[in-house]
Symmetry: C2
Subunit: 209 residues, 2 copies
Amino acid sequence: MSNRPPIRVFSVDDHPLLREGIAALINNQPDMELVAEAANGAEAIQVFKQHLPDVTLLDLRLPDMSGIDILIAIRSEFPEARIIMLTTFEGDVEIQRALQAGARGYLLKNMPPSELLDVIRQVHAGKKRIPLEIASQLLEHMSDEVLTEREVEVLREVAGGNRNREIAARLFISEETVKVHIKHIMEKLGASDRTQAVAIGLRRGIIQL
Amino acid sequence: MSNRPPIRVFSVDDHPLLREGIAALINNQPDMELVAEAANGAEAIQVFKQHLPDVTLLDLRLPDMSGIDILIAIRSEFPEARIIMLTTFEGDVEIQRALQAGARGYLLKNMPPSELLDVIRQVHAGKKRIPLEIASQLLEHMSDEVLTEREVEVLREVAGGNRNREIAARLFISEETVKVHIKHIMEKLGASDRTQAVAIGLRRGIIQL
DNA sequence: CGGTCAATACCACGATCGTGGTATTAATCG
DNA sequence: CGATTAATACCACGATCGTGGTATTGACCG
């Protein structure tokens, strides 16, 4: 069981210090090898094609684009790509979108390194691996209704401090329609008013500031 | 200029991978030495007393307490402690509070390692060092009025989706007083309604979710 | 081809919010 | 000791919001 080629790992993150930590960790494993790094989305996609790594560690927040978009971009060309999301953030919606887009694992940066290594090996072996902590996050909101795209758009406008009338003007719809959307948003999120809807939307990763 | 003792560095962060990266970076410098690490506040304070490091790298968000509280706790006993805040976050209020509490430097985790090394050396030499990117953040809101403690409290309640009447009940004051506070909050933050006030408060680090 | 859902739109009403004042008390500061 | 500031409180009014309905259109699904 010894002479298998090492797992070729690719790390994408805009924090140099974190990349450094990952590099040290990976290269200390006899069965792994860090073959490339990238600090933004454009670079990530290009370098992926160049190296075709076995496993990719992908940050969710990068300076130029969302990690999810990178995930989608890579998997549209390489559906077999084994990608693990690695992030500080734990909004259930982000997790769900990542998994739907085909992520094989989802890790928080504050988890112990052993967990990361474990997930890398499992994912390389073709499995999916979601830590319990994350999975329970997901289950918590499993039954919740999902906001439509339009509703998210409206919620974003609300977060910007716009009045219903302003939102209507900005989205080219009637004020009454805005109200309907907001009503649905509050129902789905369990919020008692628009302000709480924004707070919940932020906490769950539905909108960003 | 050669035989000075190395700068003794202490790193406090709850992300093991990041600590790993810092460790690798520091220990690669001939003039530095990582003498200890901690992953939470209680540990940080205890380990600090034990090692009395030359320079401390302190994360702003830790599982058990705020980095600022740790900063204050350490400096109340060791006013000479040279502490650099190292964080992902850039709300101007957090920065200001850290500097007021006596931080000698403030760095973002996505800055290049050379910057970190530079700041460590400068701070060890007794200087303060705030990168331009951060300083400009501060200047941006220099002239802004600062929320009082009570106002922050009220803003927190607003973010929780409470109505004025509910906030009044929770804080044991009249609804009219709540309104006055909210009016002041909106004026100070430049918000057009309570929802935007919450969004701005979150963005600027005045409140957390 | 019906069923469901998302998005659009309008109406009406009561609740809540935001704004304009004025005023008192306690604390802090120079 | 005056000056300032924060926190408290009340009033009144118009603006905005949230809720209850009802309805039409187009898209997607089985």
